[in-house]
Amino acid sequence: MDIQYQPKPQLLLSTFLVFFIIHDIQVGVGIQGFQRIIFLEAKQDAWISVILSGILTHMIVFIMIKTLQYYGSSDIYGIHHDIYGKWIGRMMNCLYIFYCLVTSLVILKNYIEVIQTWMFPQVPTWFLSISLLLLVVYGVTGGIRVIVGVSFFNIVLSMWMLGLIGYPIRYSDYTHFLPILESNIPAILKGTFKMTFTVIGFEILYVIYPHLKEKNKVQKFAHLAIAITTILYLLLMLLAIAYFSSGQLEKSIWVTLSLFKIVKLPFIERMEYIAIAFWMLIIIPNIMLYLWAAVRGMNRTFNINESNFIWIFSLILFISSLFLNTRMKINTFNDKFALAAFYLVYCYPIILFVFVLIKKKIKGFKEKQI
C-alpha cells in the first residue's frame, strides 16, 4: 500500500469547500438535543462548557492538520501504515473504519428515532432505514464530489432555520443565567466532555485531506468552520437556558426541536414538523461522508473495489439499525459511543502526532548518520 495518496485531478475539491464539509458533518443529530446533556452537568454555566469545547476542538484540529502536513498528500490510512507497519497499521485502519461505520449508525438511528417520536410512531424502523440508506448509497456511488455537493446545498438551503431562532428570543428570561459560575470547574469540564457527541465530525479531515487542492489553506477554512459551529452551538445553548426553566430543560430530550415548536406563521404552525423532515438533508451528507470514509479505508488498506463495499456496509448498517430499537438502548449506545469517540477524536490525534514527530526525528537522525 502506498503511503501517499494522490487523487485524480477531477476529484480534487476547492479548499474552501472544507468549510462546508466540516461545518456540515459537525452539525448533525447532536444539535437536536445536546443542551439537556450539558445542562445536567454544568447547570446554567453550560454555555461555558460549549466555549471550552470549541477551543479544545480548535487545538485538536490544528494538531490534526499539522500531522497531515508532514506527509504532503496522505490520509490517516497511509499514516497508520507508515507508523505502525503493515499488520498493526491494518488493525488500526480497521478500527478507524469500524468507528466510521458506528458513527453512521449513530446518526442514522438517532434520526430515525426522532422521526418515530415526533412524526410517525407507526412507521417501522426498517422502512425508514432502507429509504435513508438508499439515498446515501445513491450519493456515495456518485463519488466525493457529489457527497460534498450535498453537504454544500445542505448548508445553503437550511440557512432559513437560523431565522426561526428569533421567535424564542421574545419569550426569553435572562435571569436564568444567574448566578454565573455557580457550578464548579469539574462540572463545567464534565459538560465539555459531554459535548463530544455533538461536536465530533471534524476527524473526517483525516480522510478528505488528499482531495483538497491547496493544502496550505486548509487550516484557515477548517478553523473557520469550527468557529462557526461553536458559535451556533453557543447560540442554541444560550437560547435554551434563557427560554426553558431548569426543570423543563432537564426533561426535554430534543431541546432544539422543542424551540421550533413555538414558531407561528400566518400560514403555518408547528414548524418542527417541517424542520424534522428537512433534517434529512442535514443528516444524509453526514452518513454519506462517514460511509465514504469507511469505504475509502477498505480500498486503501486492502485494495478492494470501493463500489461493492458501499453496498456491503449499507447492508451492515441496515441490519444493525434494526437491533437498536428502544430509547434506553439508543441512549446507552450514544453514551458509550461518545466515550469511545472522545478517546479516538480528542486523545488519539495527539498520540498520533507524537508518533509522527518521533518517526520523523528518527528518520532525520538516521539520514544524518549516513
Binding site: 476547492s14 469547500l17 412507521v123 464530489r145 450535498v150 454544500f152 446545498f153 403555518i268 434529512m280 438533508l281
Partner: protein, 504 residues
C-alpha cells in the same frame, strides 16, 4: 503459404474487377443502363439528350431546379460540338461542378441534387450542382416567443440556418465543421464553435461522440441530443434545443458548442446547466432589475409547481397540526363533501389538468384554445359542485400548472410537470418525510449529472461565485464582463468593463 498467396491474388483481382465496374462507361447506352440499375430504375430519373452535341444529361427531376437546368446548362451547350469535357466545363456557368470517372461518385452526386453531363466517347463525366430549394421561408419564433428582441427562428434548411448564424457573428474564427450521420440518410450535421473561445477539449469530445453514432438514419436534432448527451437515462436533458438564432449566437460567444442537423429547425447547444433552463433570451434584453425579478419568479414557480400540491396532500393526510386554525376551517369546509382521501383527490385533479393540456396541445390552435378554457371552467366548476374535489385544491392545482408554464424551455416544462406525480405519491404515503425524500433524491440526482463533462448544477456547485452574478439573478452587463467558468473558455474576457463603461 501458397494458399494465402492465391487468396490475396484473388482478392486483388476482385478489387480490380470492382474498380473496372466502377469506371464510367464511355458508351451512352451502357452508361444509361448502369445509372438506372444502380438507382433501382426510379421513376424520377430523367435522361435528356442535348441535340447535335452527343451530350446526354442524367438527373432526378425531383431534386434539381429545372429553370437553372435550361438557362445555365442546356442553353449554353446546345448546337455546339465538343471534343473533350474540359471544353464543356468552360461553357457552363454553374458554380459548383467537377468531373469524375467513378460511378459511385456519380450516383452520390445525382442523389445530392447534381446533374450528370455525359459526353459520348469521353472517359469522364461532369457533375454540376443545381439543386432545387424546397422548404418554407423564415418565420417568427413561435415556441420560444419573446416581446423584446429579434423575432426570427431557424427553419429546416441547414444552409439557411448557418447563414443566419454567420450574419450575427461575422468572425473569421467561427468554425463550422461538417459531419455526416446515418448510414442511409447521410444527414449533414454541423458542429459549430468559435475558435479561440470554445474549449478545444470539449470540441474534441463532442466531435467524437457524434462520429461514433452508428445509426441508419437521423431525422431530427432532438434524436441526436438523446444520442450524444452524457446520461440519456436521466429525466433531465443535458443539452438544450432552441429555435432562436440570437440565442445560439449569444451562447457561441459564451464559448458553448452548437450542433445543427439538416432538416431540423432546432439547434443543440452544450454544455448546459440546470439553471439555464430557467433563463430566457429576453432576460438579456430587458434591464437587469426586471430580469432578476423574472428569474427569481421562475425559480419560485419551479418549487411551487413541483411541491405545492404535494405539501397540500401531506399536510391534509398526516400533519393537520401545521395548518393554523383560521386556515383549517375553510379547508375542512371545502373538503367536507369530498369522498376521497387527499392523495386520490390530488392525483385526479392533476391528471385532469394534464389531460386538458395534452388535448389542447394536440388540437388545431383555434379549437384547442376554446377547448382549454371551456373544459377547464365547466369541468372544474362541475367537479367542485359534484363534491369531487375541494375548491382549494383546484386553486392549488391550477397554480401549479400555471407555474409550470413559466418555464421558458418547453421540454423542461414537461419534466417539471412529470416530476410532480411521484412527489405527490410520496407525500400521500409518507407525508413531509416523503416529500423530503423526493427532494433529496432529485438533488443528488442533479448533482450526479454532467453536461459534456461540466457539472450540471454549475455555478452553484461546484461554487463559482463569479458566475453567480448571472444565475438566478442578473447583474448589470458591466458586472458580467467575463465568460462563465462553465464553458472553460480559452479567452475569458468578453470585453474590458472599464472601457465599456466610459462615457464622453
Amino acid at each position: 503459404m501458397f494458399f494465402k498467396k492465391t487468396l490475396s491474388t484473388n482478392k486483388q483481382e476482385k478489387e480490380k474487377s470492382k474498380d473496372a465496374d466502377n469506371i464510367i462507361p464511355t458508351n451512352r447506352e451502357r452508361m444509361s443502363l448502369e445509372f438506372r440499375r444502380r438507382l433501382q430504375n426510379s421513376a424520377d430519373i430523367v435522361e435528356t439528350e442535348v441535340p447535335g452535341t452527343g451530350i446526354t444529361l442524367f438527373y432526378f427531376h425531383t431534386l434539381i431546379d429545372m429553370n437553372l437546368l435550361h438557362k445555365d446548362i442546356i442553353e449554353q451547350i446546345k448546337n455546339q460540338s465538343f471534343h473533350s469535357i474540359e471544353n464543356i466545363m468552360g461553357q457552363l456557368s454553374v458554380g459548383i461542378m467537377d468531373k469524375t470517372n467513378q460511378m459511385d461518385k456519380v450516383i452520390q452526386s445525382a442523389i445530392g441534387g447534381h446533374v450528370i453531363i455525359h459526353l459520348e466517347g469521353a472517359d469522364k463525366v461532369i457533375y454540376a450542382r443545381i439543386a432545387s430549394n424546397t422548404g418554407r421561408a423564415l418565420s417568427n419564433a413561435i415556441n420560444e416567443s419573446q416581446v423584446i428582441g429579434p423575432q426570427i427562428a431557424f427553419n429546416e434548411s441547414l444552409s439557411t440556418n448557418l447563414s443566419l448564424i454567420r450574419k450575427y457573428i461575422a468572425d473569421p474564427n467561427l468554425s463550422i465543421e461538417d459531419i455526416r450521420v446515418g448510414k442511409r440518410t447521410t444527414t449533414a450535421v454541423s458542429l459549430i464553435h468559435i475558435h479561440g473561445i470554445a474549449n478545444q477539449q470539449m470540441v474534441d469530445i463532442l466531435r467524437d461522440r457524434i462520429k461514433k453514432i452508428n445509426m441508419d438514419g437521423l431525422i431530427d436534432s432532438s434524436v441526436l441530443v438523446q444520442l450524444i448527451e452524457d446520461n440519456s437515462l436521466s429525466i433531465f436533458p443535458q443539452m438544450v434545443l432552441t429555435e432562436r438564432p440570437d440565442r445560439i449566437c449569444s451562447w457561441l460567444l459564451m464559448g458553448k458548442l452548437v450542433v445543427m442537423v439538416d432538416g431540423s429547425p432546432q439547434a443543440i447547444a452544450c454544455p448546459q446547466s440546470f439553471l439555464e433552463y430557467f433563463q430566457s433570451m429576453e432576460d438579456k434584453n430587458v434591464n437587469w432589475q426586471v430580469a432578476t425579478f423574472l428569474r427569481l419568479l421562475r425559480i419560485f414557480a419551479l418549487f411551487l409547481s413541483v411541491y405545492f400540491t404535494a405539501i397540500y396532500v401531506a399536510s391534509l393526510t398526516f400533519h393537520y397540526e401545521v395548518i393554523p386554525q383560521t386556515l383549517l376551517i375553510p379547508l375542512s369546509e371545502s373538503r367536507a363533501r369530498v369522498p376521497f382521501p387527499p392523495i386520490m383527490e390530488a392525483l385526479i385533479m392533476e391528471f385532469f389538468i394534464e389531460l386538458l393540456r395534452e388535448a389542447a396541445a394536440r388540437l388545431p390552435t383555434k379549437v384547442g384554445q376554446s377547448m382549454g378554457i371551456v373544459g377547464g371552467i365547466v369541468i372544474g366548476t362541475a367537479a367542485v359542485d359534484a363534491g369531487f374535489t375541494s375548491n382549494i385544491l383546484i386553486i392549488i392545482v391550477a397554480l401549479g400548472a400555471l407555474a409550470s408554464f413559466t418555464t421558458p424551455n418547453y421540454s423542461m416544462g414537461n419534466i417539471v410537470r412529470v416530476l410532480r406525480f411521484p412527489i405527490i405519491v410520496l407525500a400521500g404515503f409518507w407525508g413531509f418525510y416523503g416529500i423530503m425524500f423526493g427532494f433529496c433524491f432529485i438533488l443528488i440526482h442533479l448533482l450526479r449529472q454532467s453536461s459534456l463533462g461540466t457539472p450540471f448544477l454549475t455555478p452553484f456547485y461546484p461554487p463559482r461565485l463569479a458566475d453567480w452574478k448571472n444565475s438566478i439573478i442578473r447583474l448589470p452587463l458591466t458586472f458580467t464582463a467575463k465568460r462563465p467558468n462553465q464553458t472553460r473558455p480559452e479567452d475569458v474576457d468578453k470585453y474590458n468593463p472599464s472601457v465599456a463603461k466610459e462615457k464622453e
